[in-house]
Symmetry: C2
Subunit: 342 residues, 2 copies
């Protein structure tokens, strides 16, 4: 059984490419409100669960002890472009933890944007771990580890107490048996646990509603979610979908991308959680699906819907800027979303 | 009906992503030797058919009249990185045609590699059409147009005599009815005609064998193919699959990529043509399939097979260079290729 086509990429009169995948939308009571594809299939959420990975930092009191700002908490939940504001923020978190970038174990990565890459090349420098899109998260890990008196070295390893805490949090909040047979290594060297898409959506419904969580955990997740809404640039950066959506919709839509075609969202006004996985890993696919979901569930006006068309009906252009095709929701996805209504 | 999974992307113990698609391998007699997926489905070949789009340049005598070198003919068939050697080559072709880059209608594109982008940014310049990955092809178009006395302006339009010639060539060599309902606009503004995958493979079998072609056309295609084999860097550039394969295998494997997951090959020693389309458009998928095909059909040694593993079993690494997974042929593809044998 194959998952349904969710997104079509047209060129002229024909569909040139297509993206299959899975979508689950779950409400605060845990009921599945929309299901496309094999929603019971475990998928690696990758960076989409950074908000949960940030919980030890907040729940241990480390964030308060270090005096982290809301902007810094947003950066801890981010997959950022490695722009100057992101790099400065990660350095600030490390300094508040009494550490420096030497302690980062996420590995080096070039900044996402050309001008930022230029700056490094012109200075004849190689990219360090501080430019890694996960450096905010790792700075947060180190802040938590330092506060809790845990070993700093090897904080990324599966058997480090911090990663064991995160594992327990993910298993608890998703209700999924996260055994070692669903454990891979993420690009930034920490464990990533494959979670059924419907369970992932359920976890984000808890973020949206607070239901099914201890008061302390609900408070911590609300704090992180509101920090992202207040500082959307810190969550991703220039021209990024996460940033643009949260700039426009504020607290109405917490959205987070993950590598290999994952997107998750918490919609607090509706108490809904959303999880998307594109089979082939394409970001253009996951963004188009999430934008279509937001058009149906969050957009309040034609202007909102038109704004989301940047991703839900993204133009495929020639190098001269002529529209040659469109990346758009399939009939299957559009019909399912219509049936969902508001 | 969905096309089969051809490539799996693993992470730790699980398949994280997968690529479905179509593969056809056709022999010189026109018989299909391998068929996976809907090989009758028309797909846009995009840049994979540049060797055919170069035929008017050669067959009209324009290439000889202008004194184009073999390296320049390779560039005419290329999708290049916009490196210095490519830009210089495209300028040389234009100069030999008595034109300059102002005549290019392919649209601007940044060079593929960071250092080349830097150079433009440092000079505070925007990328011109000369850096477009198709500038060699377009320089060749202009050289042909100038020689034949056709209008220079709008040489990219579907109703320009040059594009009509190319349309007729593609219809003839593929035997496919290339009506307007299969015509899209390519990224470089010229028409792209959707062709059934098996017909595309058949056309490349003709390139490989010369069978089913007029002597003049067979000679022209052999000249273009040998030019690419002799000048692989001009066909793509640094770290590119097309370049690396032709550097290693010379005339034994003419390979050409196309956007949105297309790869084609002509294997002259075997008289075979190969055409691949990945449903979702992913290049990592099309490269993995082509590498697996070449391992079965062209590799002569363990070293050859190991060389092709760079793409056929590409490591998925963490930012610290630890192997976290693999991009690899699916069981379906591996079994079909094994059955094909040598």
């Amino acid at each position: 059984m194959s998952n349904p086509v969710l997104v079509e990429v047209t060129r002229g009169p024909r569909v040139e490419s297509q993206h299959r995948g899975i979508v689950a939308i779950v409400d605060a009571s845990g009921s599945t409100r929309l299901s496309l594809g094999d929603i019971a299939a475990p998928v690696f959420p990758r960076s989409a669960v950074k908000i949960f990975q940030a919980l030890p930092l907040v729940e241990s009191g480390a964030a308060d002890a270090a005096g982290l700002t809301d902007a810094e908490l947003a950066l801890v939940c981010s997959s950022h472009n490695g722009e100057e504001i992101h790099v400065a923020g990660a350095r600030s978190i490390l300094a508040k933890a009494g550490l420096d970038e030497e302690a980062l174990e996420c590995g080096p990565q070039w900044p996402a944007l050309g001008p930022d890459q230029d700056r490094l090349r012109r200075a004849d420098r190689q990219p360090g771990a501080i430019y890694n899109n996960c450096s905010g998260k790792h700075a947060g890990f180190l802040c938590a580890v330092a506060h809790m008196g845990l070993p700093v070295a090897h904080y990324v390893d599966r058997d480090h107490p911090l990663q064991e805490q995160i594992h327990a949090i993910l298993a608890d909040i998703t209700g999924a048996p996260l055994d070692v047979d669903v454990c891979g290594i993420d690009g930034c060297s920490i464990p990533t646990w494959a979670i059924p898409v419907e369970r992932l959506a359920g976890a984000f419904a808890k973020v949206a509603s607070g239901q099914g969580l201890s008061p302390a955990r609900a408070t911590a997740l609300t704090r992180l979610r509101k920090s992202c809404a207040a500082h959307p640039f810190e969550t991703a950066g220039t021209d990024r979908f996460c940033t643009k959506v949260m700039e426009r919709f504020g607290e109405a839509a917490y959205v987070k991308t993950g590598a290999e075609g994952v997107y998750c969202a918490a919609l607090p006004d509706l108490g809904l959680g959303v999880a998307i996985k594109i089979d082939d890993g394409a970001t253009r696919g996951s963004e188009a699906v999430m934008a279509a979901v937001l058009q149906m569930l969050v957009a309040e006006s034609d202007e909102d819907r038109s704004f989301l068309d940047q991703w839900a009906r993204q133009a495929v252009e020639t190098r001269r800027g002529v529209v040659a095709g469109t990346v758009k929701p399939s009939e299957t996805l559009a019909t399912a979303l219509s049936a969902l209504g508001r």
